[in-house]
């Protein structure tokens, strides 16, 4: 057994036992000068993904990212590297990057019938949800800021008009003040109504929901009955029973076809309604 394989297997044992620091240092070739930067076999991609997994458990996001990137430069289609990278980027709030790598991992899982498909589908949904939540927060903050500024402008305009009123002309003063109050009220109400509208529309259309997991679909596949399911869910079912969930007729993974139009519709729905990723 080569030294690097030995170190890797020992690292795996430490990982299994929950000793992530120990696993990290075994995946790295412990060197007194560069304790973490040198890895036992710089050409072995599995060492990088294993170490990334240990570092993921330790919340060392930056080093997860560098390990995954190194791994991807050696082996661009490494599913685990994309998967761990997405998780680290998500923790660092790089939502676009995280989603991109989560989708890449998902594509590889689907193509290789990988058992991690369900977990990877979950990460894709989480990325979409958190990306939406982040955009939503920014949008709300901007809206509130615009609202406050507009009110401030109206107030300024009123004050300028009041300054120009002849001394003692109380009727004119009152008219200016009333008009300004009304305008400010209208402005506040319009913004408030927009906010309420946003809260109301929180309903997930039936067509977007997978009848097995009850989640919004990420990668819908269609069976010969014409019904679509989330790929991860139906694959999980077919592993136990190669039958159509509706008709119980024989059904195998090879019979499934991607439903591209529905996939796009679900994608567009989630882009606008990221909250639904956790409906």
């Amino acid at each position: 057994m080569s030294k690097s394989l030995q170190l890797k297997e020992e690292g795996n044992r430490h990982f299994q036992a929950g000793d992530y620091i120990g696993a990290d240092s075994l995946y790295s070739k412990a060197s007194p000068i560069h304790p973490t930067s040198i890895i036992a076999d710089p050409k072995n991609p599995a060492l990088y993904t294993n170490r990334a997994m240990a570092r993921l458990k330790l919340n060392h996001w930056d080093s997860v990212i560098s390990d995954c990137e190194t791994c991807l430069s050696l082996s661009p289609n490494n599913m685990k590297a994309h998967y761990y990278l997405a998780q680290a980027q998500l923790s660092l709030r790089d939502f676009d990057g995280a989603l991109q790598h989560a989708l890449e991992a998902h594509k590889l899982c689907a193509a290789n019938n990988d058992k991690s498909l369900a977990a990877v589908t979950g990460i894709v949904l989480r990325c979409k949800k958190e990306r939406w939540a982040d955009r939503e927060k920014k949008r709300l903050r901007l809206e509130t800021e615009v609202e406050d500024r507009m009110v401030e402008l109206l107030r300024k305009e009123r004050d300028e008009m009041l300054a120009a009123v002849a001394p003692g002309d109380e009727a004119e003063r009152k008219a200016i003040e009333d008009e300004a109050d009304e305008r400010m009220n209208v402005l506040r109400n319009v913004f408030e109504a927009a906010r309420e509208q946003n809260q109301k529309k929180r309903e997930v259309p039936e067509w977007a929901i997978d009848d097995i997991s009850f989640n919004v679909m990420v990668d819908p596949v269609i069976t010969k009955t014409g019904k679509s399911y989330e790929r991860a869910s139906i694959m999980e079912h077919l592993r136990r029973h190669p039958s159509d969930p509706l008709t119980r007729e024989p059904l195998t993974p090879a019979d499934l076809r991607p439903n591209l139009a529905l996939r796009q519709a679900c994608e567009e729905f989630l882009d606008k309604n990221g909250w639904a990723a956790d409906w």
Binding site: S116, A118, H237, L246
Partner: protein, 156 residues
């Protein structure tokens, strides 16, 4: 990797029930836990066998739900008897193909299972237990879904 689908799926079934309610005659008694629910069901049409009775169903969702079926049994409580039916043993075990590994489908839900059981009671005309009930209740150690039931009488 385990599916890990159960908690989210059960939570979503719960949300759906809270939002849309349940069909008449079916009521969720205890549904806060994501592993175990209790329902009360009663027969709506006048069936002299079950007249005025309410029955309690226990659902146990395993980690592999909904890929595998929930374990569903009637449980006995004061004023909640075990219904008399040729496919229901006196210990509450229900012989229904939908609840076995072969008959189950992941598109079924707790609600749809309740409805199937409700209609199984509604249409029953035989005021009797399954053949061999006493012996079965004494001897059975298996989990309901693993039992290979013989469907003695498919007319019920």
């Amino acid at each position: 990797m385990a599916t890990g689908m159960r908690s989210k799926r059960v939570a979503k079934e719960r949300q759906k029930i809270d939002k849309f309610g349940l069909p008449p005659g079916i009521e969720l008694v205890e549904g806060n836990d994501l592993k175990e629910w209790l329902f009360d069901i009663r027969v709506l049409d006048s069936n002299p066998i079950y007249d005025g009775n309410i029955f309690r169903l226990k659902f146990v969702f395993s980690d592999t739900y909904p890929i595998e079926p929930p374990e569903v049994t009637f449980i006995e409580r004061p004023s909640r008897p075990i219904p008399i039916h040729p496919h229901i043993y006196s210990n509450g075990i229900i012989c229904l193909d939908l609840l076995g590994n072969q008959g189950w489908s992941p598109v079924q839900s707790a609600e749809s299972v309740c409805m199937s059981i409700q209609s199984m009671l509604t249409s029953n005309t035989k005021n009797e237990r399954p053949p061999g009930d006493e012996e079965f209740v004494r001897g059975n150690k298996q989990r309901p879904r693993d039992i290979e039931f013989l469907y003695h009488d498919n007319t019920v």
